[in-house]
Symmetry: C2
Subunit: 335 residues, 2 copies
């Protein structure tokens, strides 16, 4: 049992709950026998969905939670008051050591609040950054912080850089990952007050591979493995990234459907195009971890389908195997 990675999954969170969430869980356990999923939520809702699938019963367990946190609910209140919500119950499983990780497509604000108050920050961690993987032309980059804790201090950004480096190395398997700070020019004297103060601290930091400033223009090309910025900027980058991809792919599809000739062309080009665009599909890479907590909390897109849920669950195995919490502990002690 100790070799199993135990994932508490919020069966009620996100736009496609419970159908796609449950399917993601089944796909994960049918693919790997070293995963156990706790489906947390209303049993009367989950069981009928579950009954449609074939799977190893020992790998899936339903944990009842009678309440739900809505997508637009004010986070602090929601976590405080809804003690029997799927999110609070799922996070408590992690806190109590009954699960190694919690995965949810639910309310982002509530994930941030619950992660820090229920699962808890590792002592010495100043802020727990929200760190999604974003697709690039050459692979994938970790962008942090994309959370709700804006107006960060330079020492917090340095900690983000170290946490991000470790995650890319241990969980994603990118050895000696390059680290860049988001800036508005390549020169060291460029930037706002925060970047100018943080830059020399990152340069001095011996346990990361700091390559200097990256401009946002370079991010889609794959400028570096770990992209460090303050949460307001990170949130703007993450959402614009997704917005641009959606809009551009949308207008290209419209263009392809606009004439009879182009429709035939689209039909012929479709398989090749699909393969190409897949490389820019965020759902291939699982969800975004909240780093620096006593246990793993992963947030997938609110619109996540089963594939993203499955990938997020599988990602937890590497996180557990690599003992990320232990590594963070040692990182803090070496400060």
């Amino acid at each position: 049992m100790s070799d199993m990675t135990r994932v508490a999954l919020d069966a009620m969170g996100g736009d496609n709950a419970p159908g796609e969430i449950v399917k993601g869980a089944i796909d994960a356990v049918n693919l790997r026998d070293d995963i156990k999923v706790f489906l947390v939520g209303k049993t009367e809702v989950i069981n009928p969905v579950l009954s449609e699938y074939t799977f190893n019963k020992e790998q899936v367990e339903v944990v009842n939670a009678s309440e739900e946190i809505e997508m637009a609910e004010p986070p602090v209140n929601a976590i405080k008051k809804k003690k029997d919500s799927s999110m609070v119950v799922g996070m408590k499983l992690v806190k109590d050591g009954e699960a190694d990780a919690f995965v949810t497509a639910g309310n982002s604000g509530a994930v941030l609040v619950g992660g820090q108050t229920i699962v808890g920050r590792i002592k010495g961690i100043k802020r727990a950054p929200f760190a999604p993987l974003i697709p690039t032309k050459t692979g994938v980059s970790l962008l942090l912080d994309c959370g709700a804790n804006v107006d960060a201090r330079p020492d917090q950004l340095v900690q983000f850089a170290r946490l991000g480096s470790m995650y890319m190395d241990k969980v994603i398997g990118k050895k000696n990952p390059t680290v860049g700070i988001v800036n508005i020019g390549a020169e060291e004297e460029k930037g706002n007050a925060l970047v100018k103060e943080t830059f020399p601290l990152l340069k001095e930091c011996k346990d990361i591979n700091f390559i200097g400033s990256v401009e946002s223009r370079e991010i889609p090309e794959g400028a570096c493995d770990v992209i460090v910025c303050e949460a307001f900027v990170g949130n703007v980058i993450l959402k614009l990234y997704e917005g641009m991809a959606t809009t551009l792919i949308g207008i290209i599809k419209e263009g392809l459907m606009s004439t009879t000739k182009s429709k035939i062309g689209a039909l012929l080009a479709k398989p090749a195009l699909k393969k190409t665009l897949k490389s820019f599909d965020a759902s291939e890479y699982g969800g975004a971890p909240l780093l620096g907590l006593e246990g793993l909390v992963v947030k997938t897109h609110g619109s996540a389908k089963s594939k993203e849920v499955k990938n997020s669950i599988i990602q937890c195995v590497a996180f557990k195997e690599q003992d990320i919490a232990g590594n963070v502990q040692r990182m803090i002690e070496s400060e």
Copy 2:
């Protein structure tokens, strides 16, 4: 002569100078007889290029400037020391009232420094924001500030909102333009310290049509006409916008060229796709003005080709006709 719009054009600035710059000037004067262009730069370089074209000689005049400001040169020094550079000479023509506008594809930093020190800010303008038009699914939005003056104050952001509104109304012809502030959530309590302080000031502002927060995800869809933010964030948005477009269109082209079948498909779909992507082509919309100056200064992309140069020159006509400097003056007086 007073009905003519006189544009000083930096013939030496940008990656494609002087060829594409001169061609842009010729295309503009051959299209409109109410424009006169001063081609500023080394006569011995400009004249041979000019001699290849047919045009009304009264509409084009070469003004000699013996120096050049390089793209990577430190801006303050460059403007101070290179008194006979095409940028300084061109801006002086505006300052002295001999030209209505200065258009350049040169060093952005030098444009910002020169614009404020040579052409000069209108009294009462706190900062001159750099305000490019960005293409969206439904048309075009003005994004400001995208300049180098980071860490702005709330009252400066309010002035940006008013300047941007006026520009969209008078120059672009968008009546009662909507104004949004870049934020990381739709609710008023979201945001960093700057946004939280600015939001109520914008709400109180009677001469703009403020619609509240916009998330970066909504920008490509055309969330509002005037997008207000601090320069660091604006710069990140502008460059990511361009980077995403380049990368995505690049990988789509690669995808289309990857198999024989897809190549045939691409051939059939090409005309329709081209038309669609044209709507997302920044060069259609001319350059970015530096707002709030005594005269007009417009910066085009460093990589601008003749079309963007031509469009930037033509944009100056509306700017002059609408007496933007006079309008800014009245705006300041009403504060």
